[in-house]
């Protein structure tokens, strides 16, 4: 039991911090432009694919640096020539634009790289078990993911709260017009934040690609989860995104690890049920089974009872 909790905790934190890399960019972009970027997870996918292609020729480490930069540049271009143009048609059009972009990027990825899963692996130096605990191995690559994620988190925190750039970004989030009046190029700040946000997503893709698989559906798998995090944490709140990322990460790993079902609960109370009834699926529901729907349940509950999210202070 102890080892189960220990490993679930560790895995949950790794997943959570990975999700935070995506969610942090998304929530910053949202708080600046008021647009929930549906294509955010697509940039994560692009990061993995770019890194895969680069790793074939130049190795994993070059991909780790170059792929996020490429993705960030693409993000900046999308903001400059796509989103800024669509802005004139209003918010709904912007949302639909990013949705269409997500669809298009998936098709383009299939067009260029094909539909099958790519053999994108972690570098050989990291292919060893870091430590063994109760007979279970903890791979070094996961520790590496953890390290990168924590590094990014600290860097982001320092930049946003301690540097001049962070000051301008925070000002532009709350009072864009006033910031522009003070002589800062707000559209450029927007483009920069969008680009950096996409680069972070790309970096998440680079390090998640070997662990979670590099395939055309990877954006779709993670995309809606990241939305859940941003909404649950509170739209525009970085702290909220961090807490919600860890929460969702732990929720998912623990739900999969702990194999309890409604049946067990009923047996405690000595209730039996008819095996042929139409509700039989309900009585045999187990925790791993409902693991995929837990985040969405949380999302809906939060939106109904606390639309500002856990740490947010505004309602879209």
């Amino acid at each position: 039991m102890l080892e189960l909790i220990f490993f679930s905790l560790l895995n949950g934190i790794v997943t959570g911090l990975l999700l935070f890399m995506l969610a942090s960019g998304l929530t910053l972009i949202f708080s600046m432009m008021g647009v929930l970027n549906f294509a955010h997870a697509s940039f994560y996918m692009l990061g993995a694919y770019f890194a895969y292609t680069i790793s074939i020729y130049l190795g994993f480490w070059v991909g780790l640096i170059v792929a996020p930069i490429l993705v960030g540049l693409m993000g900046a271009v999308v903001e400059r020539y796509g989103l800024r143009y669509v802005h004139r048609w209003g918010h709904v059009a912007e949302l639909i634009f990013t949705f269409g972009l997500a669809f298009l990027i998936e098709e383009v990825v299939q067009f260029i790289w094909g539909k099958d899963t790519k053999a994108y692996h972690e570098p050989e130096i990291l292919q060893f078990p870091l430590f063994t605990f109760f007979g279970q191995n903890f791979p070094a690559y996961k520790a590496f993911m953890l390290l990168i994620s924590i590094g990014i988190f600290i860097m982001l925190l320092l930049i946003l709260t301690r540097s001049r750039v962070g000051l301008i970004i925070q000002a532009a989030i709350h009072k864009p017009n006033m910031t522009a009046m003070l002589g800062h190029n707000v559209p450029l700040v927007f483009m920069g934040v969008f680009g950096v946000g996409c680069a972070l997503a790309g970096l998440a893709g680079v390090i998640a690609g070997p662990a979670l698989g590099t395939f055309p559906g990877m954006a779709f798998v993670l995309g809606s989860i990241v939305f859940v995090i941003v909404v649950v944490g509170g739209l525009g709140s970085l702290t909220g995104a961090f807490v919600a990322s860890l929460l969702i990460g732990l929720l998912q790993t623990f739900a999969i690890a702990l194999d309890y079902s409604v049946n067990d609960l009923l047996q405690i109370f000595n209730i039996s049920f008819d095996a042929d009834s139409a509700f039989r699926d309900l009585w045999t529901l187990s925790l791993p089974q409902i693991a995929p729907i837990l985040p969405y349940l949380l999302l809906i509950l939060i939106l109904i009872f606390r639309p500002t999210g856990l740490f947010g202070n505004r309602e879209t």
Partner: protein, 432 residues
């Protein structure tokens, strides 16, 4: 038509005949279509079209008329389908007797019930909050459909048999042509109902709430209730579309209520044009044609659909119908004729450029996906070697020359457009 329509309509003295004429035309068109396209593929496509027309129109009750962007509309479509297929099976088992052609009613009802449940909390806000709730509900349902096997049938779905019900004048809906007329009948009735809904006070208030919720509240309407009514009606019609889907294909799977279907309906409505009643109809027809015809010729048709969608969102937010409707002013002044030549002049090089781009994508796709050494490919009946230099020169020439000529024709098109949209009196006075 109701009193309200008459007072609200600017053309009060519009003769009844003129209002009914489009509907009579629509009716005759529905009757005549299977005689023109009588092949199996034609019928299949038209059946799908009919289902998607209802689905897309019901979606537009939210997005176009109510200003609610939904990412989970397939929930009502899929649930309607599952409910209908279950009732088809009850009829087959003899549990109760019910005419098969009315089965979509059950689909509509479950769509309505879920519309009431989900709408009761999701319609409080429009905009991003609504979009997120719809996304969450959509994902929730899609995930649940794999868990609750008794109702959703797991991965293989639930199948039924539409021919087992009581016969209607000797017809048991075994043939495609019968199901076509069944769908056509439902399409006619539901399209008319949805049109009438958009004319009722509830439909009108939905527009008002979409445009300015605060003002609508000052008039005395609760924005939440107005949205709620639209939402429920939309769920009902989506359920009917799902029921027709169940009747047509006799199988409903988890795929029918997942995010992909939700995305498809958004795509259809938006490409067609959400600002017009007939927009989603145009979108459904175009999308089904793309899906069934284009997919016969190319593997990458979804890439084209994606490009078309993004371009529509960026440059033509009014959709395809919007482009047609732009010409009404010129049409009324009988000056559309002046645009034919300019359109031809820009159309031919633009077509060449598009052909070039499509050929470029197809050739690359062929080079990547075909077996090693297989270099022969054919495009539009032209056989060529995908690895030869000549082919690439032709393709690049098409793109570059076509693009250049298209650009060079833009100014004359702009001039012609301005002339065509100028009242005749002004034009005779010298113009400018």
């Amino acid at each position: 038509m109701s009193e309200i329509t008459k007072t609200a309509s600017p053309v009060m003295a519009r003769p009844l005949m003129k209002t009914l004429l489009p509907w009579i035309g629509f009716f005759i068109l529905l009757l005549a279509l299977p005689n023109i396209f009588s092949s199996n593929v034609g019928l299949y496509t038209m059946n799908l079209m009919g289902i998607f027309i209802i689905f897309a129109l019901s979606y537009n009750m939210l997005l176009g008329q109510g200003g609610m962007l939904s990412f989970g509309h397939a929930v009502y479509f899929g649930l309607g389908g599952f409910m209908s297929v279950h009732f088809m099976n009850y009829i087959e088992d003899g549990d109760f007797t019910f005419p098969m052609y009315l089965i979509p009613i059950f689909g509509g009802l479950i769509g309505l019930v879920f519309g009431i449940i989900i709408g009761s909390f999701s319609t409080r806000r429009a905009g991003t909050v609504f979009a997120m709730i719809s996304l969450g509900v959509g994902e929730l349902m899609a995930a649940s459909s794999l868990i609750f096997v008794a109702f959703f049938g797991g991965e293989e779905g639930v199948s039924g048999d539409r021919t087992t019900g009581p016969e209607l004048a000797g017809i048991n809906f075994g043939q495609d042509i019968h199901i076509y007329y069944l769908i056509a009948g439902w399409v006619f009735v539901t399209v008319a109902l949805m049109y009438l809904f958009s004319r009722t006070p509830a439909g009108r208030m939905a527009n008002a709430v979409r445009d300015n919720a605060e003002r609508a509240e000052f008039v005395g309407y609760s924005q939440r209730k107005v949205r709620f009514v639209s939402f429920c009606a939309s769920g009902f019609f989506a359920g009917i579309a799902g029921g027709l889907f169940a009747l047509n294909f006799e199988i409903v799977t988890e795929e029918n209520l997942n995010a992909l279907t939700s995305g498809t309906v958004l795509l259809m409505a938006y490409i067609g044009g959400v600002g017009f009643f007939i927009g989603p109809i145009v979108g459904a027809v175009v999308f089904t044609l793309l899906q069934s015809i284009l997919s016969n010729y190319t593997d990458i048709w979804q890439l084209y659909v994606g490009i078309l969608f993004v371009l529509t969102v960026m440059y033509v937010p009014q959709g395809l119908t919007g482009i047609i409707m732009m010409h009404t002013a010129a049409w009324r002044m009988r000056q559309v004729g002046a645009l034919v030549m300019p359109y031809l002049r820009i159309g031919i090089p633009a077509l060449a450029m598009l052909t070039g781009i499509a050929a470029f994508l197809e050739t690359i796709h062929h080079m990547r996906s075909s077996v090693e050494g297989d270099t022969a490919m054919s495009l539009m009946g032209i056989e060529f070697n995908s690895h030869s230099i000549v082919a690439w020169i032709v393709i690049l020439a098409l793109i570059v020359v076509g693009g250049y000529l298209t650009r060079s024709q833009l100014p004359q098109l702009r001039d012609a457009w301005e002339t065509a949209n100028k009242p005749p009196a002004q034009r005779e006075g010298g113009g400018s």
